[in-house]
């Protein structure tokens, strides 16, 4: 028997293609995910992220190309791959008609734990994801965040070498989101490699060591969060004025003194400008210039590039919202 070397990447995919009828949901994806840490696939709904995950998790067979997960081919060695991965799907992959405890006991039994060990494991895991109080409640009565955490607990009954998390925080409130992030970071510490998909740049930025940006079934950019953001090269400066009447003058001042092209927001006192990088100095001098001209600013914020801006920079167009809903 040949044991794969530790240094072999967690995922190595070349030219993956998956068609649904005439549409190529995945259109020639190459992906190399190193061992350890968190790798994020970022993109809008319908970009093909979920399909890539389904192929790598052996739930779908590719129509073209090939993929190795932990050194095993996802098609010809699917059973071997399954022994070492965990998956938390985009839609909760737990049984709603059972309690949290019953879900975990069932999955532990299926994976070879004895009856007593399954009960213990279920209780330990529920504690670790802070669901002990809801252990004996039916999952259909769980909130979205609780379901997600149960889902993650279900994926780590046997600590996987590679865990797929498909949009683990979509639709969650900020607190639940933070709890999911905490769990994900805990997994990395014990050596699990995480491949997570997300629609949120800030999530990828907070968690990931590397990011692949996907659109229309293709990877359009890949790199560390820093590389990606500097390639985008823009941030968003938002300014709110005290007087709506001063807005035209404020726009003129910013353009003449700092060469910043500001746009009017729907809100009569709001201004938005795209500025290079995350240049805090520029933001500060913009505010002080305005104050120097007697234009009082009530609030300002310098945001990192939004996903839309990343897309604009990478593709020359913004993400098409209607497109996404349909393809989701």
């Amino acid at each position: 028997m040949i044991f794969p070397l530790r240094s072999e990447p967690a995922v190595e995919a070349t030219g993956l293609v998956k068609k649904f009828h005439a549409v190529k949901a995945v259109d020639g994806v190459d992906l190399v995910v190193p061992r350890g840490g968190i790798y994020s696939v970022l993109g809008p709904n319908g970009a093909g992220k979920t399909t890539v995950i389904r192929i790598l998790a052996t739930l779908a067979t590719p129509d073209g190309g090939q993929a190795r997960v932990l050194g095993r081919d996802v098609v010809s060695e699917a059973a071997k791959v399954r022994e070492r991965i965990g998956l938390t799907g985009q839609f909760a992959t737990v049984d709603e008609e059972l309690t949290g405890t019953e879900n975990l006991i069932m999955l532990a039994r299926l994976q070879g734990f004895s009856r007593a060990a399954s009960v213990r494991r279920a209780s330990d895991l529920l504690g670790a994801v802070s669901l002990d109080a809801a252990a004996d409640r039916l999952v259909k009565k769980y909130s979205g965040g609780m379901r997600r955490r149960l889902d993650i607990a279900a994926s780590i009954i046997v600590t996987p070498d590679l865990l797929f998390l498909d949009e683990p925080t979509t639709g969650l409130d900020p607190r639940s989101r933070a709890q999911v992030w905490e769990t994900v970071r805990g997994l990395v510490e014990v050596g699990t490699t995480i491949l997570l998909t997300t629609q949120y740049l800030d999530e990828a930025d907070q968690l990931a060591d590397r990011i692949a940006v996907m659109e229309h079934g293709k990877v359009i950019a890949e790199g560390t969060p820093g590389q990606l953001k500097s390639s985008v090269g823009v941030g968003t400066l938002r300014i709110r004025l005290r007087e709506a009447a001063q807005r035209p003058e404020a726009i003129r001042v910013l353009a003449e003194d700092l060469q910043i092209t500001a746009q009017e927001e729907a809100d009569a006192v709001g201004l938005t400008a795209r500025v290079p990088g995350s240049d805090a100095d520029l933001a500060v001098s913009a505010v002080s210039r305005l104050a120097g001209r007697g234009i009082s600013v009530t609030d300002f914020a310098l945001g990192q590039p939004s996903l839309d801006e990343v897309f604009l920079a990478l593709t020359g167009h913004t993400t098409d919202r209607n497109d996404q809903e349909e393809a989701a």
Partner: protein
């Protein structure tokens, strides 16, 4: 709401717990086929426990059939409802249980169209266990339905000469054939888009199979072409075998044909179901 309180109260139970738990998540030896099947059977029973209403469908419907057909046709066909009931009850039992087997397909389709099936598919387990286990759980429901129908029959004047043992053996034949025919619905569950359409597809097959049989009337009274169909309809043999066991009459070849047709159905639809399991996405 308590839901909110739970998640916030437990907010701080730190990730050191998690790390401990993860460190202990070593993979045990793979679960054997029996354990996998029984675990899925346990799941099916838990669902009955948490949603006893699902027993309502499978019990009320058979009882309704028994009452309706006994009083609707008894006088016309046998001259008396009690006389007719002796012949009809084993047949109604077969019909009622075969009809509710369609729930097996609907439940599997619902698993597949929701996310939970994806989880099962990513586990390295003996896959037929998930289907067979669910069927074993369903057998419990069929048994309950069958026993209730027999009890109702006895209350209405059903007096099987085979006694409790004869009735139990008859019921087992019905359960055996139900198990076999369920594989047709599980295959359908992988092809049809919704639980509802899975049931509808099953109904198209189960209605002619049960009505065009010897359940309601003696086939000798029917036109030749219909007799020819009834002769090759396996349900006819299930009904005959059940009647003969319940009334302690000689079995003839009926039971053999039940076994053969069950084996043929499973041999075709078992592998087909598992092929669809693997290949339908």
């Amino acid at each position: 709401m308590t839901v909110q309180l739970t998640s916030s109260a437990a907010d701080t139970s730190g990730s050191s717990d998690l790390r401990d738990v993860l460190m202990r998540g070593t993979r045990p030896p793979r679960a054997n086929a029996f354990t996998v099947t029984m675990t899925f059977g346990w799941r099916a029973l838990l669902k009955i426990k948490h949603g006893p209403m699902q027993l309502f469908d499978v019990t009320v419907f058979p009882l309704m059939l028994t009452l309706m057909f006994t009083y609707l046709l008894g006088g016309a066909i046998a001259g008396s409802t009690t006389v007719y009931l002796q012949d009809l009850l084993p047949g109604i039992l077969v019909m009622a249980i075969l009809m509710i087997t369609q729930y097996t397909g609907a439940a599997l389709n619902s698993d597949r169209t929701k996310g939970v099936f994806d989880r099962f598919k990513t586990l390295a387990i003996w896959r037929p266990g998930s289907v067979i286990g669910a069927m074993l759980g369903d057998l419990v429901r069929y048994s309950i339905a069958g026993i209730l129908v027999v009890l109702l029959g006895v209350a209405l004047g059903f007096r099987p000469a085979g006694g409790v043992i004869g009735v139990a053996l008859g019921l087992m034949v019905v359960l055996l054939f139900s198990f076999a025919i369920s594989w047709m619905w599980t295959a359908a569950a992988f092809v049809m888009p919704t639980p509802h359409s899975t049931m509808a597809a099953g109904a198209i097959i189960i209605f002619p199979l049960t009505f065009l049989s010897n359940i309601f009337a003696d086939p000798k009274t029917m036109p030749g072409w219909l007799q020819a169909f009834i002769d090759v309809n396996p349900v006819t043999y299930v009904v005959s075998a059940t009647r003969n066991l319940m009334f302690d009459r000689p079995l003839g070849n009926d039971l053999l044909w039940v076994l053969v047709s069950s084996a043929v159905i499973v041999a075709i639809f078992g592998p087909l179901t598992m092929w669809l399991y693997k290949n339908k996405q």
